[in-house]
């Protein structure tokens, strides 16, 4: 089962990185003001609406079983890869909205100041807006990480022998639920430290804010 759990961890890490990147791209697209970006904004908005509106398990089913059924050449058929793609698509939609909330929480006067100094809109986003936005959304981002670590288990419906799946097999062959409990412990070993990390960042944020307000 440790092997299975190691597979979970690897899927989680890869999907997490993909989610952080894809989510940021979608958020930046949705937050852009340029008129030329209008079609991309629409596309990004549709993407977040669709993937936030579907149950994760349904997306995993559709992509995990649907894509191989199309028998397209050059498209991956490995259930681990397909499951990871499905998870990344679902979570990036949530994470994009978290980023976007962060970007929009930075006061527009910061953009004015950056532009008035001669920075380009891209430089202003990169050096002034994003650093502030990301700092503010670290706790909610970590919350989404926690949810993702657990949802990696959903990939088991496609067959890969990750921890939950192995525990299920072991439990059903022995009629003993200990393997499932062991799997639960493994998940908690990851999610509880993550939860403490969220607390830590939230507390630090509060501290910084009150320190700022005191001056």
């Amino acid at each position: 089962m440790l092997d299975g759990f190691w597979l979970d961890v690897r899927i989680f890490l890869v999907v997490e990185v993909a989610v952080l990147i894809l989510g940021l791209i979608v958020a930046l697209t949705r937050s852009s003001r340029a008129a030329a970006f209008f079609p991309f904004r629409m596309l990004a908005a549709t993407y977040t609406d669709v993937f936030r509106g579907l149950p994760v398990i349904l997306v995993i089913y559709l992509i995990g079983f649907g894509v191989p059924a199309l028998e397209l050449s050059g498209v991956p058929t490995d259930p681990v890869v397909l499951g990871a793609i499905a998870l990344a698509l679902c979570y990036a939609a949530y994470v994009a909205e978290v980023y976007r909330a962060g970007i929009e929480s930075v006061h527009p006067s910061q953009t004015s100041a950056a532009l008035s100094l001669g920075l380009t809109p891209v430089q202003s986003t990169r050096h002034v807006i994003l650093p502030q936005a990301i700092r503010r959304v670290i706790p909610p981002l970590l919350n989404d990480f926690i949810a993702l670590t657990k949802d990696v288990a959903l990939i088991s419906i496609l067959g890969p022998l990750e921890a939950f799946r192995q525990a299920q097999i072991a439990a059903s062959s022995t009629f003993n639920y200990t393997p499932l409990l062991a799997a639960a412990v493994l998940y908690l070993a990851v999610t509880i430290p993550l939860a403490r990390l969220v607390d830590h960042f939230t507390a630090r944020d509060r501290l910084l804010r009150s320190a700022g307000a005191a001056v």
């Binding site: 006067s109 910061q110 004015s112 100041a113 950056a114 532009l115 008035s116 100094l117 001669g118 920075l119 380009t120 430089q123 050096h127 002034v128 650093p131 502030q132 700092r135 320190a211 700022g212 001056v215």
Partner: protein
């Protein structure tokens, strides 16, 4: 041939939806001169400054910088903003950057200065304005007066052709106003060209070559500070100054 004014505003209009904020403003700021914009809140002072710095689009008219029209759609606003600098009422320092990094961001990223050159001139400016010890502090550790002086240094570090000051003392506690105005006086003595929106009439009288009274998006009265502030001709100007007087602001 006379040299054109550094800044020239010709018949500028600007509306937000139905509400017209600027209704045909004409204005010129010559080299080494300071023009003070006075007028009630909402009279269009800030909007005018933001339009000149191309942070807002104007609906009609022209703004010229050194004789070049900058409000033409073919002009790259980024290049124009690199020739001007603006200081804001609420300082708008970048809270995630130290004082020094606030100042260095634009020179090193947007003005093609080497990090070394930019750092040297930033430190020099900080020393001049008594901020040398605060270079590694973050903005929220500074007093309002210090923050605004850092914001002025940040603007100067881009070596602007003209400085736009948008009510830079309005967000300050009264006892901190003096240190900021002192900086502006020094800049004026050095010949910096400035357009200053302000509620500080005493300061306008000291520093400005010309005072313009803005009312409902128009310049109703303009002239030498003594004339406009001591002997206003327009009833609106008289009323505005009387209100300030009774509020103890003159």
């Amino acid at each position: 041939m006379t040299t054109p004014p550094v800044l020239e505003v010709q018949g500028v209009t600007k509306a937000y939806g139905e509400a017209e904020v600027l209704s045909g403003v004409d204005l010129a700021v010559r080299e080494h001169e300071a023009v003070a914009l006075i007028g009630a809140s909402g009279s269009g002072k800030s909007t005018l400054l933001r339009c000149i710095d191309l942070l807002e689009e104007i609906d009609d008219g022209d703004v010229l910088l050194d004789g070049d029209v900058i409000t033409d759609p073919s002009v790259d606003p980024v290049q124009v903003r690199r020739r001007l600098a603006m200081v804001f009422q609420a300082f708008n320092l970048f809270p995630h950057l130290s004082v020094l990094d606030n100042i260095l961001l634009a020179p090193s990223r947007a003005h093609g200065m080497s990090k070394g050159e930019a750092t040297e001139s930033a430190r020099e400016l900080l020393r001049r304005f008594g901020l040398a010890e605060r270079e590694s502090a973050y903005p929220d550790r500074l007093s309002g007066g210090q923050q605004q002086r850092v914001a002025i240094v940040r603007a100067l570090a881009t070596r602007p052709r003209a400085l736009l000051l948008d009510e830079i003392t309005s967000a300050l506690d009264p006892e901190l106003v003096g240190e900021v105005l002192e900086v502006v006086r020094e800049l004026k003595d050095e010949g910096m060209t400035m357009l200053i929106a302000t509620h500080e009439m005493g300061f306008a009288r000291d520093v400005a070559n010309e005072v313009c009274f803005l009312h409902e998006g128009r310049i109703l009265e303009r002239g030498a500070p003594e004339q406009v502030l001591s002997d206003p001709q327009q009833p609106e100007t008289q009323r505005f100054l009387r209100r300030l007087l009774s509020a103890g602001r003159v």
